[in-house]
Symmetry: C2
Subunit: 193 residues, 2 copies
């Protein structure tokens, strides 16, 4: 045989545990922020020995980077699903409302990635991923309007996180509508593409 298709059971388990550690790290970030991520806290969360994270990731930074890259990947999938599903103002407003309420922890984690990327250039690409993907998917007729729209979504999210009560779908809908008022071609382009 050209290449052994027989997988080493040891390596398979290793990969599984590796992913479990990354998932546990994301849970820790959602709960306590990046500040709460230590080898020990991650190990506790994942139910693995203290030294396991060190074994799988050379350094704590590597673990953080792996987690945030994976998180960005997941978020892009969500984003694409929303865009692909039509992307009306109502649906976008609902997504934002969910992001700052039910998925609050996750959204906070995402913005911690933003800030971390601000200080670590190697993370910039991951942090910007959903933006690049949005531009790619939509190919807007009016780039200026689209950039304004994307900026406003970011702003609504982050401002929603520090509101006394999280803004609801109904409160957000008119704002999103305003931003999209003569840009309905966004969604048409997304559907067509």
């Amino acid at each position: 045989m050209i290449d052994g298709p027989k997988v080493d059971g040891r390596k398979a388990r290793g990969e599984k545990k590796r992913r479990a550690i990354v998932e546990a790290t994301l849970r820790v970030i959602e709960r306590d922020g990046i500040a709460g991520v230590t080898h020990r806290s991650v190990a506790r969360e994942a139910g693995v020995p203290t030294t396991a994270p060190t074994y799988y990731f050379a350094t704590l930074d590597d673990l953080l980077i792996a987690t945030l890259l994976w998180s960005a990947e997941e978020l892009c999938d969500d984003m694409l699903r929303i865009v692909a599903s039509g992307g009306s103002a109502r649906e976008i407003a609902r997504s934002i409302a969910r992001a700052v309420d039910e998925n609050r922890g996750r959204t906070l984690a995402e913005y911690e990635l933003y800030l971390l990327a601000g200080r670590r250039p190697e993370l910039k690409a991951a942090a910007r991923r959903w933006l690049d993907l949005a531009v790619e998917a939509v190919r807007p007729a009016d780039p200026v309007a689209f950039r304004a729209f994307l900026a406003a979504v970011d702003g609504l999210l982050i401002q929603g996180l520090i509101a006394d009560v999280a803004p609801g779908e109904d409160e957000l809908e008119p704002i999103v509508s305003f931003l999209l008022r003569d840009c309905d071609d966004f969604t048409a382009a997304a559907r067509g593409g």
Copy 2:
């Protein structure tokens, strides 16, 4: 005399040192982020003994909170100056361009405050301060358009922080113009009020 106008020289020096510690803390945050704030790093930066920050602030959290409240205050002054000085699209674009380039550290610090506020309710008011102030100062005719505008400014700032090269004034100006296209009354109201 009803009340001793004579100030205690000891307390005066104390207050001075207290403020020096807060300022040093802000410099540390701008350079290394909130993660880099420790009693010792702040003491080094301020040129005071290790135990000075503990003496003036019961806990590290108190120091952080004091620093961020003060920082928010300063930022509000800046904001008001921009609004009061006319607030054309060009000027706003220039402010944003500066915030993500020359004042990059400061802007990063400001968004770390946002995120911290997301996890600590007692900081929410401070984080939202410039927003509330903007609404108060402008009293927009179209609240929806104005909220969209404020959200977009936040988004442009945070996205500017994670761009490979920080966006310049010329790149931002059309976006700001777009957001203001039928809201010139913002600035008129600000000037008038």
